[in-house]
Symmetry: C2
Subunit: 152 residues, 2 copies
DNA sequence: AATTGTATTTAGAATCATTCTAAGTATTGA
DNA sequence: TCAATACTTAGAATGATTCTAAATACAATT
């Protein structure tokens, strides 16, 4: 029932934000969104497609791409580009940054420090920043979280 | 002659670093490297190809891609991925980060503050970072540096 | 309810950046 | 000079994403 409750809460969120951007609430959009919320990882469009298809076999990859775009525009998910392979998607909307493990390919969320507000960069006055992304690459040291931890 | 001097200096650098990675110094590699050093912007592989072709009409796009890879491996240039369009290349090897203007598409180098060494993130102990990238997006306010500054 | 206009979904084609392949050319070092 | 290896090249192949055009669903009028 906690499930059910959060479910309707998130649906309201979705419906409201879609409407705000002049879009309709559809079963596909709801299902793709729900698929993303169920994952703490950072799936590619194709990952989302495969997962979504399990419960909605008729859904198309085009719709998944369209929906992911829509969700990004609505501010319900974020795109993550650590590698220059397929774009990955993040449904954690708390401010955070990303750690990419070059060995297992996993992306981990990394929180900001409490006190932080000052960025360590000096942006010239003629450049107006709207968004700052910090991405970290490295590797996991835990064989459980990192399958490919044999080599090294 | 200042030109010539720095020219040979950079060639030595190139030859030495290529050799260190077991690669030969070739006219194409020298030319591509020189093309990159001449630019303060962040060209795509195709940009580099077009510029390089002006002085070396026989060069192929495949060689440009191969050379850019080689230069990255040698630590002479860096790849920059702000957008998920074509990879761009940076020949400024001083530690810095990137500002991407969503209006003109230009990428500007942004320096770190002097005192900085502390990153504003708390990386879990099971993740070992090897590289941190900060990328900023926003827009230029100078119509000279930003051609598309009419709209807004 | 039937009609109309618009949004959405879909499969497949098209595009773009990049990598791969296979053949030709250059360089090195016995 | 010869053979081994590295390099360059054009074009084919790939992978991710976007585009296109037709079918379907939906909402607002009649
Ligand atoms: Mn995330
Ligand atoms: Mn740069
Ligand atoms: Zn890992
Ligand atoms: Zn600009």
């Amino acid at each position: 029932m906690k499930e059910e409750q959060s479910s309707t809460q998130e649906n309201n969120d979705l419906a409201r934000k879609l409407a705000h951007s002049g879009m309709r609430m559809t079963s596909q959009r709801e299902h793709v969104y729900r698929t993303l919320l169920n994952q703490t990882d950072h799936p590619t469009a194709d990952d989302v497609y495969l997962r979504a298809k399990a419960d909605m076999p008729e859904i198309s990859i085009a719709t998944v791409y369209n929906t992911l775009d829509a969700l990004v525009k609505c501010g319900l998910i974020k795109q993550v580009n650590v590698e220059r392979t397929a774009t990955r998607y993040c449904s954690n909307m708390k401010e955070h940054c990303h750690f990419f493990c070059g060995e297992c390919g996993n992306i981990h969320d990394v929180d900001y420090k409490k006190g932080r507000d000052e960025l360590p960069v000096k942006i010239p006055r003629n450049l107006i920043p709207t968004q700052v992304d910090i991405s970290i690459r490295g590797h996991c040291i835990n064989p459980l979280s990192c399958p490919n931890r044999s080599k090294n």
